[in-house]
């Protein structure tokens, strides 16, 4: 019944890609003076400064919250050097006075799963983002869990203030996207424990809704067998719907991902081929729509069983991870008629990072997603 369908918030949407980035921000800054808060990660990733450099280039007035991670382990010499070089570049762009370091304890070894909650607490203590007109979260050099938590916490906060009649602050998410660079950066060993993004527990351990069906949507990238196994054991789902990137720049990427994970998906998990979903690789808003609709289909179908729990695992690119977050956020906080899903975002952190073998010349594209603010109020 069409009147039971949830209304999607990000339809239409505002997405800016690479070549359009400078033009978008020049026009945005041209409308009025804006004080911009840039939230980015202190990390070794070769893409860490792309957003900062571009904003500087268009003359933005920028203050920086620099998220600095500590997992209790010594960094390798190579990673430390890369991280320091990125930091030095940031100082050269904006000056030390404009940079506020924010320390976040993230999961290292021994199964600590407090990264997401620590990120939330650090952001709460960081200062008042309402002093700014635009907040830009650059997730290029952030660990996945930190990135998703940061966007979720800031989005919820800014939504809450605006809903109460306060200032409407724009929120943008940027990332320098490259599948090759992601794969090169992704070497490392995983934690043994699954963690949930704060705000998205899915009430997995609730005893009064223990018998509700659990549906799991792993959004797949390359080489994710270990994460799949850990998360599956953690959730113990009743239904599994893998999400494959398609359309994608490399036409056969989706097929290759399925082939790579064939044994675990079909032999171990025994999924039905018809359950495989597609999500756009390079447009997070289209991916959001595809995932949102799939989740909503289960919400409506399983309503008679009392309710349903949906878990979405962002084990693909960071760009797709934003699509995952938007879909889950919209199901939790958006315009949904009838019973909501319990929504969870389970993930497995990298415990020990490997040294990146990223090429300084790796091709990547910068994406900017405007996820809340003035565009919604016309």
């Amino acid at each position: 019944m069409s009147d039971d369908k949830a209304v999607m918030r990000w339809d239409p949407y505002s997405l800016t890609r690479d070549a359009e980035f400078d033009g978008f921000w020049r026009a945005h800054l041209g409308k009025r003076d804006r004080l911009i808060l840039l939230v980015l990660g202190r990390g070794f990733d070769v893409r860490a400064l792309e957003t900062a450099t571009r904003l500087k280039g268009v003359g933005a007035n920028v203050a920086v919250w620099l998220l600095a991670y500590d997992n209790g382990l010594n960094d390798s010499a190579k990673r430390s050097a890369l991280t320091q070089a990125n930091y030095n570049g940031l100082v050269a762009l904006f000056g030390t006075a404009a940079i506020t370091p924010i320390d976040i304890a993230i999961g290292g070894t021994a199964g600590e799963t407090a990264t997401s909650r620590n990120t939330k607490a650090a952001l709460e203590a960081a200062g008042d983002c309402l002093l700014f007109d635009d907040v830009v979260v650059d997730i290029s050099a952030m660990p996945r869990l930190v990135a998703m938590t940061t966007v979720a916490v800031l989005l919820a906060k800014l939504d809450g203030v605006a809903r109460a009649g306060g200032k409407s602050v724009n929120l943008h998410v940027t990332t320098a996207e490259s599948v090759a660079a992601d794969n090169d950066a992704a070497q490392g060993t995983l934690q043994d424990q699954v963690t949930l993004v704060v705000g998205f527990s899915g009430q997995l351990t609730s005893q009064t809704t223990e018998n509700w069906p659990r549906v799991w949507f792993p959004v797949l990238g390359e080489r994710q067998q270990a994460r799949l196994d850990l998360i599956r054991d953690f959730i113990d789902p009743d239904e599994i719907c893998p999400v494959i990137p398609f359309p994608s720049r490399a036409p056969r990427r989706g097929d290759e991902i399925i082939d790579e994970h064939r044994a675990i998906l079909f032999d171990e998990f025994q999924i039905e081929p018809a359950n495989i979903l597609l999500a756009c690789e390079y447009n997070p808003f289209e991916a959001y729509k595809q995932i949102f609709v799939a989740m909503d289909r289960y919400r409506r179908a399983l309503r008679e069983m009392g309710g349903c729990k949906a878990f979405v695992s962002p084990i693909s690119s960071k760009l797709l991870s934003i699509g995952v977050l938007l879909a889950c956020y919209d199901h939790r906080f958006g315009d949904v008629s009838g019973e909501r899903l319990d929504v969870g975002i389970p993930y497995v952190e990298t415990a020990v990072y490997g040294d990146p073998i990223q090429d300084e010349q790796s091709a990547y594209e910068l994406y900017s997603m405007w996820i809340r603010g003035e565009w919604e109020e016309v």
Binding site: G160, Q203, T208
Partner: protein, 636 residues
């Protein structure tokens, strides 16, 4: 189908029927020392994967009832039923126990960040106890959950301030508990600023309610023994765990309480105090790996073998085969005899060289040359002789005794331990398989069920593939493949150490150094600690200094203390008391047997070397390089 060895029997997706059929009855042997299992407090502890949750699950109503029902048609289930009757969980008329399982999860620890006084913790625990009891009562009555909640009734006399309803049906209690849970998750999932704590419960009323509430199901009053099964306590924050255990201990309610937790929840004193090592004052504690080791090692072997056969029978295509008949127990001498013969010739020459111009070993050489039997038997004899020659040469040098030795002296100086050392040396040198066979599978588990299933599962996967490919004539898995697969599991576990342990890098360095040292001592040419060294020991005095001292007194030792504690908690080092060394007490830390595989060591116990705390700290800092430094120092 998923490899049945990789299924965790405690998982939700494993039905109770499957679970009962997969459960090895031998586990219940562990209850023999528990004086009052259904009226007292019992701790069930192990390293990860020891089988705690499966043990508790068996005691819940549906598995108990199914065990009773299926026993007449399934021999394995019958054994479980008989064991349960012996301990009073089943009567001839059926379940005689209301086992109510409450599983703790890491969300409680997250709660501790803002619930300093544990008020919300107690509220949630009370809610969980009530919910679990509702489910247990319905399961016991054979009714559907949650549909039939309104058909059961609960009456009790609440103390002042208690919020659990005095008289209610199951539906009402469910709504009461649901409200608490919804409030909890709304708070946990709030993306805004965390508000101050308000509400919560002042007492853990759920326990008293569980012990005293009068329960009626559609068949009438529920009048059976009650036991509260609390699982995964290691997921709690330390303050929560302490307050819960203190409350349960002090309450002395008229019901049983079982607490299952991983060893990592324990402190260094809990694990390594003199009392803990001697199992003193611990009648109510079942520490699984410890209970299974020593004199019960063979019982454990039979237990896990039965589990392995139960698992194997679940696989598509395996049919009625026996898992262990597909595990080859002997070398393929056709393939290896040439290598063993080459080794024999080489050793004969080495002994001849040792003889030089003298005749001290002529008789031993003649004995070797005259030996009959397989190539392996002959090679083993030569290798044993080589060890004895090395020992004799040390002795001969110091005593100026160069006369010929009689053949009888060869036999006199040998021992079964020396022969085992010789076999290990020989196999290592010719790269023949070392780790294979049913007994080895049991040995490498280090008394941990999960570890056993991980290794057996790896072998099973290859066996099953062979069956599917050559269905008509299944070939046993060769010693070579068994050895390779067991080493693969050992390497995989070794690789995961850093991320699995607190102070992971320090722990790995310490283990590296211990392993390297054990190898060095084991493979000394005279095999002084046959069949090999697989542990290091510290004096009880050093143990007291390390474990019993206040933190401020031993600040410099805390990293070592923490690392040793976590290695013990994860069953990677197994502490055992030893009083034999010149009347001085020592505690030996034996390596987990998969670590022995990783370092190429033999699997027996008994060989160890004493070390100082200073040595251990040095090793923890330097890792495998530590030994090199020591050697260099020696040379200087």
């Amino acid at each position: 189908m998923r490899n049945p060895f990789r299924i965790r029997a405690s998982q939700r997706s494993v039905s109770d029927e499957e679970f009962v059929q997969l459960f090895g009855a031998g586990a219940l042997d562990l209850m023999e020392k528990v004086a009052d299992p259904w009226g007292g407090l019992v701790f069930l502890r192990s390293a990860p994967g020891g089988g705690k949750t499966s043990f508790l699950r068996l005691l819940t109503p549906r598995p108990l009832r199914l065990t009773d029902q299926l026993a007449d048609t399934d021999q394995q289930v019958k054994e479980t039923r008989d064991a349960l009757r012996d301990v009073g969980a089943l009567a001839s008329s059926g379940p005689d126990l209301l086992g109510t399982m409450v599983v703790f999860t890491s969300e409680y620890r997250e709660m501790a960040g803002f619930d300093r006084a544990n008020a919300l913790f107690r509220e949630l625990v009370n809610s969980r106890i009530v919910i679990a009891t509702l489910r247990a009562v319905l399961d016991r009555a054979g009714r559907a959950y949650p549909e039939d909640l309104d058909k059961i009734h609960f009456d009790w006399a609440p103390e002042s301030g208690a919020t659990i309803p005095a008289s209610a049906n199951g539906r009402d209690l469910f709504e009461w508990a649901s409200e608490i849970e919804r409030g909890f998750y709304e708070r946990m999932d709030d993306l805004g600023v965390t508000p101050p704590v308000k509400g919560g419960h002042a007492r853990l009323d759920g326990l008293k309610w569980f012990a005293h509430v009068r329960i009626r199901d559609p068949k009438g009053p529920v009048e059976v023994k009650r036991v509260l099964l609390l699982d995964e306590l290691q997921t709690l924050a330390p303050g929560q765990r302490t307050s819960l255990i203190e409350f349960v201990t002090a309450a002395r309610e008229q019901c049983g309480v079982w607490i299952a937790e991983r060893l990592e929840a324990l402190t260094h004193r809990d694990l390594l105090s003199e009392g803990a090592l001697k199992d003193r004052d611990y009648e109510g504690i079942i520490q699984l790996e410890r209970r299974w080791s020593g004199s019960k090692a063979k019982v454990f072997g039979r237990f896990v073998e039965s589990i392995a056969n139960l698992r194997a029978a679940k696989a598509d295509g395996f049919e009625n085969r026996n898992f262990f008949t597909l595990i080859e127990e002997h070398d393929d001498l056709t393939a290896w005899s040439e290598r063993f013969d080459e080794a024999s010739v080489k050793i004969e020459h080495l002994i001849g060289d040792a003889n030089g111009n003298g005749n001290r070993y002529d008789n031993w050489l003649d004995e070797g040359r005259g030996r009959s039997g397989s190539a392996l038997d002959r090679a083993l004899h030569w290798r044993t002789t080589q060890i004895l020659v090395a020992r004799d040469q040390r002795r001969a040098q110091s005593s100026f005794d160069f006369d010929a030795l009689a053949s009888q002296e060869l036999e006199k100086r040998g021992s079964s331990a020396t022969e085992r050392a010789a076999e290990h040396f020989l196999r290592t040198e010719v790269e023949a398989p070392i780790y294979f066979g049913k007994d080895v599978l049991s040995a490498v588990s280090s008394s941990n069920v999960d570890q056993y299933l991980e290794v057996a599962g790896e072998l099973f996967e290859e066996i099953l593939a062979k069956i599917r490919f050559r269905r008509e004539q299944p070939m046993p898995l060769s010693p070579e493949r068994q050895d390779a697969l067991i080493r693969k599991v050992a390497a995989s576990r070794w690789e995961g150490l850093v991320r699995r342990l607190p102070r992971g890098y320090e722990a790995r360095r310490l283990l590296e150094a211990i392993g390297e040292y054990c190898r060095q001592q084991t493979f000394r040419e005279n095999a002084p600690y046959a069949p090999g060294v697989t542990g290091i020991a510290i004096t009880m005095q050093d143990r007291a200094l390390l474990i019993d001292s206040p933190d401020d007194d031993v600040r410099h030792l805390i990293p070592l203390r923490d690392v040793l504690t976590s290695l013990v908690a994860h069953n990677l080092l197994v502490p055992k008391l030893d009083h034999q060394n010149n009347g001085k007490s020592l505690v030996v830390f034996y390596l987990n047997r998969l670590l022995c595989v990783q370092f190429g060591l033999p699997l027996g116990y008994g060989g160890w070397r004493a070390k100082s705390l200073k040595d251990l700290m040095h090793w923890q800092e330097k890792g495998a390089k530590a030994e090199t430094l020591v050697k260099e120092a020696t040379l200087v």
